[in-house]
């Protein structure tokens, strides 16, 4: 031993050290296993799983951290981690579709209710949730909006909502303005506001999708004027370019832009800039959803935004309250290996106390919650929008017409505003995009 070479000594030492560590490692692991088994006996659901959850930016944690908080609470209770990934609104549909198409479907993803869900191939990707306990506590619109081909496929914690012209009642009173019912009256109103250096209509024009929302609201009046229009659009029997209300609307819309009713630089306004413009009374009206005023009030308390009211877009003869099919919903991926964990997650979120927490943190979706456990809190604008809509109500095109894409439509409208396309060409461009998909799906 005395003649052992230094290298050999080192090797022997290292080997002995490694074996000792190995032994320690083994015993530690054994301990862990036993502990793990014990835990498993105590709480059956405790697993080392992570469920992935993809949603659009403005659908999650909006104005709060409520989604993250509920996820954390769920993880604490069950040990199941929730990996919530938020994607910018503009690109959400793109990213999700790409994920689905490339076989990287998340365990949970959010989609629009109504026909909006169709473009994500419900039969192929959505799990059937009809037998979940919480389904019985759905309010009717939530059940209808989340039902596809007779099966409940979505977990919805939203509010049925619609888009209308929110107006600052103080400003309207100040200039003795009344709710406009026709485009002529609307023009006069806007002229008065403009003459007084108030932006008549604030448009968040950098967001292409918001331009698309405008046209989407013209669907119900067109359907009312010629019943069966949506069916014909959805079966490709009629084109957008053939609907005269749409062309009239776009012509009037362009006139508004050219007359400067949308302010100085509408194309640079981001969504967030709307709160300030309305909150500081720089602008008098805004195309928003009925709970939008709550968000303005939250950010600009002095604005008195809670008192503001709404009227339907008074263009192309519209007098209808156009609304969604219930906003959006979470769906479970059909072939997810964590389907049971996902169902446990939905069941957790559907507990009355968690729903209450959720809706309390989200003033924007309080008007008409999707579960019977939570009381509805209609906003001033929601109530007034119904009063100002003698034509009744209807589902807007975003939720009622196949292959509708707010962003794509909005880009054509932006193009029209900047002189690139005529109103007719906008409609033809929409038709062309839809034709591609009708052709592609033709059997």
């Amino acid at each position: 031993m005395r003649h052992m070479k230094p290298l050999k000594t080192l090797a022997v030492t290292l080997i002995s050290l490694l074996s000792i560590y190995g032994l320690i490692g083994c015993s530690a692991q054994q301990d862990q296993t036993t502990e793990g088994e014990k835990n498993q006996e105590q709480t059956v659901t405790k697993k080392d799983v992570t469920i992935t959850f993809v949603g659009s930016q403005n659908w999650l944690n909006k104005g709060s951290k409520i989604d993250s908080e509920l996820n954390d609470a769920f993880t604490q209770e069950t040990g199941i981690k929730v990996d919530m990934q938020v994607i910018p609104d503009d690109q959400y549909a793109n990213v999700l579709k790409t994920k689905l198409a490339s076989g990287e479907a998340p365990d949970i993803f959010m989609v629009s209710a109504g026909v909006g869900a169709q473009k994500f191939l419900p039969d192929k990707y959505f799990a059937d949730l009809s037998n979940e306990k919480w389904v019985s506590r759905y309010v009717p619109y939530a059940k209808a909006g989340s039902t596809i081909n007779g099966k409940v496929m979505g977990f919805m914690t939203w509010s049925v909502d619609g888009w209308g012209m929110l107006y600052n009642t103080k400003v309207f009173d100040q200039y003795q303005l009344t709710v406009p019912k026709t485009f002529e009256e609307f023009t006069k109103t806007m002229d008065t506001l403009k003459a007084n250096n108030i932006t008549p209509v604030f448009e968040v024009g950098k967001e292409a999708w918001h331009w698309g929302i405008w046209l989407s609201q013209m669907g119900p009046i067109a359907e009312k004027n010629s019943p069966g229009l949506y069916d014909k659009l959805n079966t490709n029997q009629i084109k957008f370019a053939d609907v005269k209300e749409f062309e009239t609307f776009l012509t009037q819309f362009k006139e508004m832009f050219d007359k400067g009713y949308f302010g100085k630089n509408p194309m640079s306004n981001t969504w967030d800039s709307g709160y300030e413009a309305m909150g500081k009374a720089q602008a008098a009206t805004f195309l928003g959803y009925t709970s939008y005023q709550n968000e303005v009030a939250g950010k600009f308390a002095a604005s008195g935004a809670n008192e503001w009211k709404m009227f339907p877009i008074p263009m192309a003869g519209n007098n209808v309250f156009s609304h969604s099919a219930g906003g959006n919903m979470r769906v479970a991926y059909k072939d997810s290996k964590n389907l049971n964990s996902v169902k446990a997650y939905f069941a957790f979120l559907a507990r009355p106390e968690n729903l209450k927490k959720y809706y309390e943190a989200r003033p924007d979706i309080q008007p008409a919650p999707s579960f019977t456990d939570v009381p509805a809190k209609p906003s001033e604008s929601g109530k007034s929008l119904l009063e100002n809509a003698p034509g009744g109500d209807g589902v807007d095109m975003e939720y009622g017409v196949l292959y509708w894409d707010n962003t794509a439509v909005g880009k054509y409208i932006q193009d029209m505003m900047l002189g690139g396309l005529t109103p007719k060409q906008v409609l033809e461009s929409i038709d062309k995009d839809r034709a591609k998909l009708f052709n592609a799906t033709a059997k």
Partner: protein, 291 residues
């Protein structure tokens, strides 16, 4: 023998297999899918021949993104190289704070393109952005613009961002190239009575040809492939005024027309291949001549 010094072909096998599996196969599949009506709404993929390509070239609304992409590549490549070279020459020697300045000019390269896009959205804001405020402050208020809201300006504003961002990268490559220029050449030129301009044109530039080649190659390729800066800054808007080919591909995928999107991708690929090979040919020829 010379031949025996070459490595066996077996050495390239691992790399080639990876390249084949992860790059060539997907690309070849892309070629096939570009000939189909692959889409989001149905599971069926139908072979439709060259219809997608026919549509790309017969739809007049596509000419704008083709023009935008080419202009973007051309303008940004030139300006990035010229500004990069000027910075490199300034910061090569003789300045006390050159290391600090080098870092500052290189910094934009490190920042994520999406963040750069969001920052410039604010800088370009016509009402509150610092660019217009600055113009007003120095008495040039008349030059203030709706930088990304004006369809004629949007693509140019995007080019400005790309140039600002990548000029520093060009600078670094040029700085490295400048280290290769032997000092003796300048000394000899000084003795011959050459002025700065002579030395730049006759000594510096010829030695920099390899750096210029690599910079121009990278600039043109990144210019044609531009996506994230424009995506974050204008998202191709207003309307489709600042749309470039990669954004169109992205949007087509969003609409669910995957086959058409893939066809555009194939076109970009072919175009890039032709341009890259062409550029290498042009620049290596002048390298040989210079040598």
């Amino acid at each position: 023998m010379y031949a025996s010094k070459l490595y066996s072909w077996k050495f390239i096998l691992p790399a080639f297999l990876l390249f084949f599996g992860l790059f060539l196969v997907p690309n070849l599949m892309g070629f096939y899918y570009s000939l189909t009506n692959w889409n989001a709404m149905s599971d069926q993929v139908k072979f439709i021949g060259l219809d997608n390509f026919r549509e790309v070239f017969t739809d007049p609304s596509n000419f704008r993104f083709i023009y935008n992409t080419l202009m973007f590549a051309l303008v940004t490549s030139l300006f990035k190289a010229v500004i990069g070279l000027a910075l490199a020459l300034m910061l090569n020697e003789g300045m006390k704070s050159k290391n600090v300045l080098r870092t500052i000019f290189f910094m934009p390269v490190v920042i994520s393109n999406l963040i750069v896009g969001l920052i410039f959205q604010q800088i370009y804001n016509p009402d509150t952005g610092i660019l217009n405020e600055f113009l007003h402050a120095i008495g040039l208020g008349a030059l203030s613009q709706s930088w990304i809201g004006d369809p004629k300006l949007a693509i140019w504003s995007s080019m400005g961002v790309e140039i600002w961002k990548a000029a520093g990268f060009n600078m670094v490559i040029f700085l490295a190239g400048l280290q290769m220029v032997p000092k003796e050449m300048y000394e000899a030129a000084d003795i011959d009575g050459a002025n700065y301009w002579n030395k730049l044109m006759k000594v510096t530039i010829p030695f920099l040809i390899p750096s210029i080649t690599i910079n121009m190659m990278l600039n043109v390729i990144s210019g044609l492939k531009v996506f994230d800066v424009i995506f974050a800054l204008t998202n191709g808007g207003p309307g489709r005024a600042s749309e470039v080919i990669n954004l169109t591909i992205f949007n087509q995928f969003g609409l669910g027309t995957y086959g058409y999107g893939t066809a555009l991708g194939v076109l970009l690929f072919v175009f890039l291949a032709v341009i890259s090979v062409g550029l290498v040919k042009i620049f290596t020829r002048s390298e040989v001549n210079a040598g």
